[in-house]
Symmetry: C2
Subunit: 153 residues, 2 copies
DNA sequence: GCAAATTCATTCGTATGCAAATGATATCAA
DNA sequence: TTGATATCATTTGCATACGAATGAATTTGC
């Protein structure tokens, strides 16, 4: 039997082929693609705000005024990233900044009336985005997926 | 009964509370966090290459020479993004570029011997990264998760 | 065979995302 | 009290990521 025959047998047998590395099966690669798809769905429903910007507004709407750093912790952004996001929201008049009276290091962030109006208007769209992202799964699968995803995150 | 009593009852009853929007329960937000965690794990094992750079090398190792655009399609990057990734890999001598003889629009990308050596050295580490990323799940959960994640991506 | 449409690559602009360094302030501990 | 630490915010540099516009080359449709 030739070497080519051996190769052929391996393919035809459909064995797990554990020696080869398949990028498209790696959790990191699929995670990246799933995230990309979600961001695209988000953009198709909410064109004038990015997911991180929406996250900042939604969290401020939820908890009220807080420091820039604390907000970053709550929405999983480091200090440098959250600064850029808040700067852009401020430039658009959706949040306002003020100095903490006692701790002079802190920069307090809060929604403006326009920001509050925006997030109230967008939350229904966000529910649609979540639905559409999970649409390839049944309700039961979606629940399982969210449970396992939360364990990973 | 006062309005405040009604609010209190709602909280105490631990009802699904479907009227409130909780960012931390949304699939997009958790997806973003899970991806962040994976990238951090990746960086802790492979410090001198990013996940997209690794993906490009791994795919070239898998399929051999291909055009820049085709490579982008295979590793889920648009043309602008893949160009930056390939430029940096080229600057480090891990890939080499050449013109397609027939179709003069195409830019062919291939591994250099150094690139081949690098990816062969890194693939075992990539397996460790996948393992560590999935470590919070049991083997059965991980299989379920990957199946559902693939349906989403 | 040729005009229209498509494909490939590049460039620009904008927005995360993170490491590292810095400066200001606050807290802790001897 | 003061010196060491820690925290908060900012800045810089680098690396994705994508939309939009552009130009070159190819393919399609009639």
């Amino acid at each position: 039997m030739s070497g080519e025959d051996n190769l052929l047998r391996l393919v035809e047998a459909e064995e797990p082929d554990e020696n080869n590395y398949h990028l498209q099966d790696q959790v990191g690669f699929i995670l990246r693609k799933a995230h990309q798809r979600h961001v695209a769905i988000f953009a198709s429903h909410i064109a004038d705000l990015t997911p991180p910007q929406f996250a900042a507004l939604a969290k401020l709407y939820d908890i009220g005024e807080t420091s820039q750093n604390q907000l970053g912790t709550l929405i999983a952004m480091d200090a440098a990233t959250v600064k850029g996001v808040i700067d852009r929201l401020k430039a658009r008049g959706l949040v306002e900044l003020s100095k903490h009276e006692v701790d002079k290091r802190r920069l307090l962030v809060n929604l403006t009336p326009e920001g509050r109006e925006a997030i109230e208007r967008l939350i229904p769209l966000a529910r649609t985005i979540t639905e559409e992202t999970l649409a390839p799964l049944t309700a039961k699968e979606a629940a399982t997926f969210l449970r396992l995803l939360a364990k990973l995150a």
